[in-house]
Amino acid sequence: MKLHIRHDTIYRYDTPTQNSLQYLRLTPRNTPQQKVLSWELTTPGETSHMTDGFGNQVTVMTMDKPVSEITLTAEGVVDLTGKPLTRDDSPFPPQVFLRSTPLTEADADIRAFACQFSANKRSLVRMMNRILERIRFTPGVTSVTHTAAEAFTQGEGVCQDHTHIFIACCRHIGIPVRYVSGYIHTFSEDHLVTHAWAEAWLGHNWHTFDVVNLLNVAESHIKLATGLDYRDAAPVRGVRSGGGTEHLQTRAWVTMAGENQ
């Protein structure tokens, strides 16, 4: 399935920023599950590249002149092959993904919740359902600094929160699990296409768990980056000096290649 993706990220500042530096994980890489047929990341700044420890493609962008708006545009075509996840696409042994992080630390409530489940696919699918029941999908009530424990207490959040809670639970019961950021193709119009989900290691292979969509196969998912949590895989992480209040607007479209937008 060939998908066309366009993703605009626009930052506007009340007063011009003096300078800024950003790590952009906005370039998908080739895997057995996805072939990148074309891809272009357009930024207003000076760029260089690196591959981080997880194998993610990172564009490092510097702006050293005053600007009041930064627009990042990622666009391209990716072919999803439909092949299942395998064991060999990570540079690490899966045990790396057993460790909790500040964003995925399990508190007493999460620990009590997680103990009802065990390390097999059926149980984790059940866990995914239970998480979505407890945590209502509500855009705008949590931010990127929210921890799994905070979202679990609050009872609402977005895909990032659901994924962090799923990760906190898995790690608590000894299952290696990683955070994935990317895009999803859906036929409904009201869904965000920039997305986050989890991949858990069950004995011999990685398995997809998309909590918000209650999917356990990645048939319409395009992977941008993986890591221990959001911080490792965030599409954009940046620092700036000056700029006052920041207003962020993101727009993204994922369509069957060849369709009209």
Partner: protein, 477 residues
């Protein structure tokens, strides 16, 4: 002055079990016997004033004021014979070489895990393991350029390694200043005693840091978190001694994956950063996003091979207390040699059978947090109250993997000038091992001493002091 001797069963650095002066210590013993108390007291006051004037102070975390404090300096040196040092030196070389090989391995091919010497979970799930270091090529495959190895001497007379410090080991400035102070207060002693010099340490450190880069004439800087850090004095001291710049994060910037230092004549590229801040603070875009201490983009520059960090990121996994029990096996695995220095026997509470032994014998053991440092979060069984024991019992049951336990060792003692006169106090030793083109160290290290009678906690944050450390060039004195 009268010298009080150590209680029976302890190893004293000055006297042997029959109260005879140990080889190499006759001169020191004679000097102590001849010196009267008022002279020593006066010299001590002089030392306090000089240290205060030099600004050799440190901050104690957790104290209300975060106030600068003097680390108490003891006038009576600790002596290590030439023969003992020979053995220590070979043992330290061997150990640090194996630790560097281990670090290279766990960020590349995982041979030691594949061979089943240590479990994958213990290495890779360790919070100090840095996924960001995966397959990064470092000059000479060196990770721990500067290592501080903590040793104690047990009552059997042997040195044991208590802990490896491979992140940002501190204390070397005290080693250097203590020697300067002693030479200033008692020049006549050094005219007679064949004490090996240590003042070339900054030269060796500079040489090591330059060797961390493959460039012919690299620019090296010291990166400090700033003057509120407990070891700021040392950062400034070492930079000055090496004649290189002391910088804070805000003095550096990254452009096109290269690191530059702001100077009055424009940007200057930096090749090696002797960083004295933790992994998580190096770059707010890869670690702690709230940190203002590091340099945005530094990780990308490091990952791209355009700058070297000393020590490397991710060295903490090798000095973690849960990995410590495996160091002798690392030496056998990577070097095919038997360890020269011994480890303290250690129970890993993560193992059910070890945990049950520890719970049954808590009152006789020392329990430490695997992630702890500075003497915080530890239990000394024989000295603990009922409440403390029961508190630790709970902690151990809740998070066994957070703890290790060791027998309560009898750290050796050394005569120390305290309120009660000259009395034995417990001490340890931290030599600093430098890995560059070759492995080098100055003879000796930092000797820390527990000033309270009977106390085994030597950490400066817990009321410990320091002494000059004399490695003899000749034991016949």
């Amino acid at each position: 002055m009268q010298i009080q001797t150590a209680p029976e069963g302890l190893y004293d650095e000055l006297f042997d079990g029959d109260n005879r002066v140990r080889p190499g210590c006759r001169l020191l013993k004679q000097w102590l016997t001849e010196s009267d108390e008022s002279l020593l007291a006066e010299k001590r006051r002089e030392a306090d004033v000089l240290f205060q004037r030099l600004g050799i102070t440190f901050n104690v975390y957790g104290e209300d004021q975060g106030a600068d404090r003097l680390i108490p300096f003891d006038l009576i040196p600790r002596v290590i014979s030439a023969a003992d040092w020979q053995k220590l030196q070979s043992g330290l070389r061997q150990r640090v070489q194996a630790l560097n090989r281990f670090l290279f391995d766990i960020y590349h091919d995982f041979d030691i895990v594949r061979a089943g010497v240590i479990s994958a979970e213990q290495v890779f799930a360790n919070p100090q393991y840095q996924p960001g270091m995966q397959k990064l090529k470092l000059p000479r495959n060196l990770y721990a350029h500067i290592a501080g190895i903590d040793l104690i001497r047990h009552n059997d007379g042997d040195f044991y390694v208590l802990e490896d410090n491979l992140r940002c080991p501190s204390g070397v400035s005290y080693m250097l200043e203590n020697r300067r102070m002693m030479m200033r207060l008692f020049p006549e002693l050094f005219a007679r005693a064949p004490v090996a010099p240590v003042d070339h340490y900054p030269n060796l450190l500079g040489e090591t840091l330059r060797a961390a880069s493959l460039k012919p004439d690299p620019t090296v800087v010291v990166l400090t978190p700033g003057r509120f850090n407990s070891a700021y004095f040392e950062h400034a001291f070492l930079a000055r001694q090496m004649g290189i710049e002391l910088v804070e994060g805000a003095d550096l910037f990254v452009r096109q994956n290269h690191v530059y230092m702001k100077t009055t004549v424009g940007p200057q590229q930096v090749d090696v950063i002797y960083r004295r801040l933790d992994d998580d603070f190096i770059d707010p875009l890869s670690g702690n996003p709230d940190s203002m201490l590091g340099v945005p983009g530094l990780y990308a520059a490091y990952r791209s091979g355009n700058v070297v960090l000393a020590n490397a990121m991710g060295t903490g996994v090798a000095d973690d207390k849960s990995i410590y029990p495996y160091v002798p096996d690392m030496i056998r695995f990577y070097l095919g040699e038997e360890p020269i220095l011994r480890n303290v026997p250690t129970w890993q509470c993560r193992k059910p059978e070890d945990l049950s032994y520890v719970l049954d014998n808590l009152a006789s053991l020392v329990v430490k947090e695997t992630q702890g440092a500075g003497g915080y979060g530890m239990l000394i069984g024989p000295r603990a109250s009922k409440e403390e024991l029961s508190h630790f019992r709970d902690l151990l049951k809740t998070r066994p993997d957070n703890y290790i336990a060791q027998p309560t060792l009898s750290l050796s003692t050394c005569p120390t000038f305290v309120e009660a006169g000259i009395a034995p106090r417990h001490l340890d030793l931290r030599p600093f091992v430098l890995s560059g083109k070759k492995i080098q160290m100055v003879p000796g290290g930092l000797t820390r001493v527990a000033l309270k009678e009977g106390s085994l906690v030597v950490n400066s944050s817990q009321g410990g002091g320091t002494k000059d450390t004399w490695v003899l060039e000749d034991d016949q004195c």
